[in-house]
Amino acid sequence: MIPRPGFKATVALALLAAFLLPFAASCRRPGKPKSSVTAKPAAVEYLSYMKGTHIGGPVTGEPWITHVRAVDLDKDGRMDVVAVEGKDSRILWLRQTAPGVFEEKTIAADMRAPVRAEPVDIDGDGDLDLVIASMGYIFPNNDKIGSIFILENDGRQNFKPHLIVENIMRVTDVQAADLNGDGKIDLAVAQFGYDQGEVQWFERTGPWTFTQRKLLDLSGAINICVADFDRNSTPDLVVLISQQWEEVYLFSNDGRGNFTKKLIYGSTNEDFGSSNLTVCDLNKDGRMDVLFSCGDGFGPVGVPGPRPWHGVQWLENRGANNFSFHRVGDLGGAYCPMPVDLDQDGAMDVVAVSNFNDWTNPKSASLMWYRNDGKMNFEPRILANTPTHLLMVDVADFDGSGKPQLVTGAFHGYPPYDRRSRLMFWKRNTP
């Protein structure tokens, strides 16, 4: 038999109940809703932070610059620019003859709608050659019209083209590295195709000959990058797949050219618009991260344009081939995010350009700086809204001042054509 509580105990119980019930109610209270993970601060205009100057040839017609790369091509101690003109099928060298002064020269023509030129000493003779990815035709096409060229440098910056492969699915990116540890430089190849596409690596078999090794059967490969993600001292590959798949794949290398595939990111938004990918140690933790953008604005309407989700994001390498997604910031029509400590405060910032922003609005950003506060929070700052339709940006210390400068390339593939550029050099106004 359970003993009845005494009067004092009953009063104590009653008081306890009166006290605890409301407390229980407050425990049920969920409190303020969870903070929004996609909320990002509004962009602030920093239009006078950098000054842009046109470099190279004049702006005529609607330029289609598909790639820019800062590189000291002639190794004279001054940073130059290699640029790719997709419409004219030309590879350009903008040699820096004096600080901020560039002389343009065509170093290769008839490159079959090229979209990428990567410098590498592929023949080991001490000078920089160029590996060229050519789509054959830049706008949608499922024909096997892609090709790869290597422009062999004779040491005096005269380039002899070697056609490595042709009549393959349209090639969008080629990177060079010794992928199987045999001492010879191989190629990592992204082939967008259209309805069908693929990712491959090309094993070097001779001075200008390669054997193709397939890694993935998916259309829409835009970029492929080489880096040691798992810190086993072998080059791994990471690939951005756009089209309707919107995925990032990691190919871990055992050092002998055997790759293990892992899907490390994907959006289920078929209109996500993946546009570019690069690799860097963004948070400076010693591991290579992935920085990528979405901003392709072609879609199911007659006029291209931005989407609310367009912007820049990074995949933090957490080790053991695990990656965490983080948003850097919004940017309609975003392309080509590049890591750079622009304000030299020790934290790695990001710059990106826009090709598909809302150009009917004169305030829409075409060049954006995401300033890192040192805790991986990025404050968006608009560096420019003119010219429009920028597709590519690269970063380097062009004048030896120790400060980073930018070079941009524009692709005017759709109207309006009122704020055009071709190649521009951007330098800080402020000291």
Binding site: A14, P30, S36, T38, K262, L263, N269, P300, V303
Partner: protein
Amino acid sequence: MKKAWLFLLAAAALGAGAWLLLGRADSSELLLASIPARPQGVALPPALVERIDNSEQDLRTHRSVSALADLARLYHSNGYFAEAQLCYNGLLELEPNKARWPHLLASILAGYGQLEEAIPLYRQAVKLAPDYLPARVRLGDVLLKANHDKEAYEAYEGVLKINGEHPYALLGLARVEMQRGEWDSARLHLEAAAAKSNYAIGGDLLVNAYEKTGRTTLARSLAAQQKASGAFYDIPDPWVDELFIDCYDPYRATIASGSAMRNGDMDTAIRLLEHVNKVAPRYALAYYHLGLIYTELKKIPHAIMAMEKSAELDPSFSDTWLRLVRLNAQSGDELAARMALEKGIKLCPHSPRLHAERAGRHAAAGRFREAEADYRKIITLRPDESFGYIEFAKFLFTQNRVEEAIAILNKGIEIEPEEPMILSIMAFHAITVGDETRARQLLQRMKAQPRSTADSIDALVLNFRKAFNKFP
């Protein structure tokens, strides 16, 4: 003792009352805390501002959950996802048994690629609304993309238990199998997905599956039919799709209409465009798309009216004029077609398609000199596209100016290498003039291209055999 029990009862009643009151207060507090701050740095359309004002007012005055739902809907449909998220977080707490809230919030997160956060929300939606198949398919998709292959497979199988022919679930299974290298079963599932969706989905991957399983003839045939368009047809998802009827951004609403049209949901596509016409009556693109839909539905007078309105609002958009020309011709009003063509060319003098249309009409009417001028104009306007070269060459062939036509095609093939139609015409010409080596080379190049159909290759091979009495 009795007194003590009375005291206990009174205290319990007090506690329960306080519990109820505080619970209500909590809900009220949560409702108010779920009202997002207005988006910074953007000028919201006045009509949207008014509706947000009304919803907020309703929420503050009546503490109404439905007002918060309205707010969520307005922000979500207009692309203010951070604000919508805040509303959904509140709704998840206030109406935990409603599947729509986790589903809609998950759609935002998954759209950004925040899959690990989307997965539990889609799971919750599936649990609460097990018959809502888009949630199940989406769950499979996010699991697949987050590398949870086994669970993704199970999610897709769950869909197929309810609808055994669901094309998106079949595609999902195939994608998991492709990841695993199980190409035979992937092929079967892709065949089923493609067949069920009339090749809207699955057809592109099926080419790969045929190749991987040694069915090269099938792969070639399917690739040549070009059934895939390079665009994905997203799964119809009524809970998400219906949001756009509250979208005040004409561009976004028009995109949503375009997606609905691609999915064959013409009613929704039209409804969305009519909504755009109300909220942005001077937005030409919406009328253009309305015209496209009516054309598809073969409602030609409606299509003409929509295109005329589009042309009136934006006379510089050449596609509208071309559509007007063709629609008027289709309806038998040649005079209106001609007038639209001339007006279009006057207002859009740089449109290659309009010049091509006029060139074709000149040629058909025997005005060859005028036709040639228009064909040359196309090439001048778009020297980097093969289209003008092909059209001009076809015209030259009809004029028996064969050598000129071949010269033009040679230029075209420089612009668009391996263009199958150019290769085909040039191969036929090589056979006709007896150039066996050239004909053989061109045939080989044709065979290497996915777009070359087996029929066109067979026809050329037959001609080759007749001409040279041997196989190419």
